[in-house]
């Protein structure tokens, strides 16, 4: 199952499905790194609302993605980690350190708007 990646304005939005294999996750990682360049995206949202389990491989891949995307000059935010998934992650010892998180898509967009505004947009406040 391939993760659909949506281009929305300056951002890319990847929506992870429940039954995602390791290979699918790695494909998503590579697709995001490539498309950020192709579309000159400023930010990436990975929506994990539907994800049933965030194990150490998924957590590691998400943090790899955030690091790769940063090196490509864009920001990443993970949205939609459910309470029970957050609980399992914490018990397992996964922290997603250095990776931005937000409640849902809307908050994630807010985060990116803010995070990328400083750098990318409106160098002159009077033009806003």
């Amino acid at each position: 199952m391939v993760v659909p990646i949506l281009k929305q304005g300056q951002y890319l939005i990847a929506s992870i499905q429940a039954a995602l294999t390791d290979a699918d996750l790695l494909k998503m990682r590579d697709a995001l790194a490539e498309q950020v360049g192709r579309f000159r995206s400023r930010g990436v949202i990975v929506d994990v609302t539907a994800l049933d389990v965030m194990d150490s491989f998924a957590a590691r891949t998400l943090s790899d993605i955030a690091n790769m995307i940063r090196l490509r000059g864009a920001e990443t935010v993970i949205v939609g980690i459910q309470p029970e998934v957050a609980f399992s992650m914490v018990q397992l010892g996964l922290k997603l350190e250095g990776v931005a998180t937000a409640l849902d898509l809307e908050e994630g967009l807010d985060y990116l708007d803010h995070k990328t505004r400083r750098i990318n947009r409106a160098p002159n406040p009077f033009t806003r």
Binding site: A19, T21, D22, V53, S56, F57, P83, E84, S88
Partner: protein, 138 residues
């Protein structure tokens, strides 16, 4: 006291990464029949995911067996991850947070112990690894 079996067990052969997803879905399904909370189901599915991945990564193939069991007053889920791979060379090290012989986070085995109520690993060099975990209904 040996736990008694509540119903037929499920055996998921593990040979590739699709099986990891399948095994954890099956585990969740079976455990939910006992009435575990959604948080507990997530813990159980996560534990299966970690053990199944270790089989694929370190042994190539093996199996996950999931059963519902009863011991005295307690009912729970009993999961065995087994393979005939190379075995774990140093179990004490493997149980430490952050220790990995691959490029993993090294949180799988110690993390699974934290997630479950009971945890046992038996491994013999060149003969394989068996991890047995249990979670009891509260």
């Amino acid at each position: 006291m040996r736990p008694t079996l509540l119903q037929d067990d499920i055996r998921v052969p593990i040979t590739s990464d699709i099986d990891i997803v399948y095994a954890r879905q099956k585990g969740r399904e079976l455990a939910s029949q006992l009435g575990f909370s959604s948080s507990e189901l997530a813990l159980i599915a996560t534990a299966i995911s970690e053990l199944a991945r270790n089989i694929v990564r370190y042994a190539g193939n093996g199996a996950i067996v999931i059963k519902l069991v009863e011991r005295g007053e307690k009912r729970g889920v009993h999961i065995v991850a087994t393979d005939e791979g190379p075995g774990i060379r140093n179990i004490a090290l493997a149980m430490q947070d952050g220790y990995s012989t691959s490029d993993g986070l090294g949180l799988g085995l110690p993390g699974v112990r934290r997630l479950m109520d009971e945890f046992e690993v038996v491994s013999k060099n060149g003969e394989g690894t068996t991890v047995t975990i249990k979670k009891w209904l509260r």
